[in-house]
């Protein structure tokens, strides 16, 4: 029933489309790891990133790259506002995890409604046309969108990896993720690092939204579903594991897109919720709202201290 050409075509397209899923998941996982927040407001950041690019390209008639920059600026601005006026204030007030979570959720809803007021509820795209020219590569149709999208994703991931591994700020970020209070004790400005990770997440999701919005229609509420996908990937990938989330996002993206082979397309949307539910019921390992550790485990002296009669 399925010949090889059809299957490989679908697999390729699903792989290409999972590029933005990966970006959303990585951003969500990064903020969860460093800021210890289930940032549902990411949907709001995504919406801002998209509509900033949309305004640039469709309303101001700027060229694509300018729209891209504007999109990133939009996402970054929203991230900044969230961290500066939201999370930082709540942190200072020692608000409970529930309180912070409700805040993220409500903010994303607030932004969605605000966007609906301004831009209406009709779906739109960044470019006037969603059509991308296609080249045949060994029997598989590769669209002009696929390659740049995958390239951009790989570039962002490599950049993030290099940043975390080699840059000073990246190492600070991991230190804060590991133990924020201890990191502060060692002179790392916690607030600056938390801001940095929010802003970076803003950049990453804005790139993702630009990719998504140049290929599919977006309306104000779309970001919520895209973000829930990222949540499912983050849980499946293992909390605190950014790259695990990226891999999970690719797998989920391919499964969802290629599900067209097995189930009616009307049910595709439902798959997301099935993923979410299964992620929680079957693979919950390590998933919990991270509590900040207050105490340090002291390294115990090895038992041979006894034989030589010395402790230290």
């Amino acid at each position: 029933m399925f010949d090889l050409a059809v299957v490989s075509q679908i697999l390729w397209t699903s792989f290409a489309t999972s590029s933005y899923f990966v970006l959303f998941a990585v951003a969500f996982a990064l903020v969860l790891k460093v800021n210890k927040v289930f940032n549902f407001a990411q949907a709001g950041v995504m919406t801002c990133g998209f509509y900033a690019a949309y305004v640039g390209v469709r309303i101001l008639n700027l060229p694509g790259y300018a729209g891209f920059m504007l999109g990133i600026a939009g996402g970054v601005a929203m991230s900044f506002v969230l961290e500066y006026f939201g999370f930082a204030v709540l942190r200072q007030r020692k608000a409970s995890a529930m309180f912070v979570f409700i805040f993220t959720l409500i903010v994303s809803q607030f932004i969605a409604y605000a966007v609906m007021m301004i831009f209406g509820t009709w779906p739109t795209t960044i470019f006037a046309s969603m059509f991308w020219p296609v080249t045949l590569v060994g029997g598989i149709a590769v669209s002009a969108w696929d390659v740049p999208a995958i390239a951009a994703t790989v570039l962002v991931l490599t950049g993030l990896w290099a940043f975390l591994k080699y840059s000073r700020n990246g190492q600070f970020m991991l230190a804060v993720a590991d133990n924020a209070d201890l990191a502060e004790l060692y002179g790392i400005q916690k607030d600056r690092i938390l801001m940095l990770s929010m802003v970076m997440a803003g950049v990453i999701v804005s790139v993702g939204m630009f990719l998504y919005g140049s290929r599919a229609q977006v309306q104000a509420a779309a970001a919520t579903e895209l973000m829930l996908f990222a949540v499912a990937a983050t849980i499946l990938g293992g909390i605190g594991n950014i790259w695990g989330a990226a891999i999970a996002a690719v797998v989920l993206g391919v499964v969802q897109n290629s599900s067209i082979l097995f189930i009616p397309s009307a049910w595709q949307g439902f798959l997301l919720f099935a993923f979410l539910f299964f992620a929680i019921v079957l693979f919950p390992r390590g998933f919990r709202l991270p509590e900040r550790r207050n105490t340090l485990k002291r390294m115990a002296v090895a038992p041979q201290a006894l034989s030589d009669g010395k402790g230290n």
């Binding site: 002291r298 390294m299 115990a300 201290a305 010395k310």
Partner: protein, 252 residues
């Protein structure tokens, strides 16, 4: 005499840090055992393992001959295990009295169905718990502050409330985690008396404490722990006198 709590070959490590290294320990009814050792020796971790807060890697724990393996904390408590906490863990939104009211081992308000459909039983249960709480408050000298918020009373009184709350369980085995840290004067005497009374009623007690005087006054026996191991067991005098253990304790 059979032991109330029997620990055999208990092991636990977090990553590379060993907090329990094949521990064997027995608590006997009516006797007070003192756990001594430097910070990080695994004393509180041992309590956490016994209470089911932390799962052991290996080993067995028995309470009155029944295995506690795999049981959640609340079931262990219902079998007659009670403890206090180093950092107290009182309920700040409740009065002293209400803190105690939650302590009975069996409490029918646990079940929502009973709360909704068997009000008479709940009332009787509440009354019983209240009488018991009053009695304990009386004995520990806390009656005058029964209705105060726990933040509004002195630190020593808070410690005492922690002990009193654990007593509500009518436990077979009681674990006290630093009951004397930061306590002075009259409260000191009250806690001491309370622990003696409980022991006299046949409860097996284990105390983690840094206050050597308290340990010496109160404990029938002591155990010295270091790096997750039980290094020595004997009379408290013996343990204190041992120069080798003293050296480990003060970490020269």
């Amino acid at each position: 005499m059979s032991s109330t709590l029997e620990i055999r070959g208990l092991c636990k490590s977090f990553g590379g840090i060993v907090v329990a290294d094949s521990i064997d320990l027995d608590l006997s009814p009516g006797r007070v055992l003192g756990l001594i050792g430097p910070n990080g020796a695994g004393k509180t971790s041992l309590f956490n393992l016994v209470c089911g807060v932390v799962k052991p890697d290996a080993g067995s724990i028995r309470l009155d001959g029944q295995s506690l393996e795999g049981l959640p904390t609340y079931q262990r408590a219902r079998m007659g295990l009670a403890r206090t906490w180093q950092n107290l863990r009182l309920f700040p939104s409740l009065s002293v009295m209400d803190n105690l009211m939650l302590g009975p081992r069996v409490y029918s308000a646990d079940r929502l169905v009973d709360v909704l459909f068997r009000p008479a039983q709940i009332r009787a249960n509440e009354a019983e718990a209240r009488d018991r709480a009053r009695d304990i408050l009386e004995r520990t000298g806390l009656s005058p502050i029964a209705q105060s918020r726990v933040q509004d009373i002195s630190f020593g009184q808070q410690k005492l409330v922690g002990v009193a709350r654990a007593l509500m369980n009518d436990a077979r085995c009681l674990l006290l985690d630093e009951p004397m840290a930061g306590v002075e004067g009259q409260t000191y005497a009250l806690i001491q008396k309370a622990v003696r009374d409980i022991a006299a009623s046949g409860v097996a007690i284990c105390v983690v404490e840094h206050n050597v005087a308290f340990i010496r006054d109160l404990c029938d026996e002591g155990v010295f722990m270091f790096a997750g191991k039980v290094l020595a067991r004997g009379s408290v005098e013996q343990l204190i006198a041992d120069p080798h253990l003293t050296e480990l304790y003060f970490g020269t």
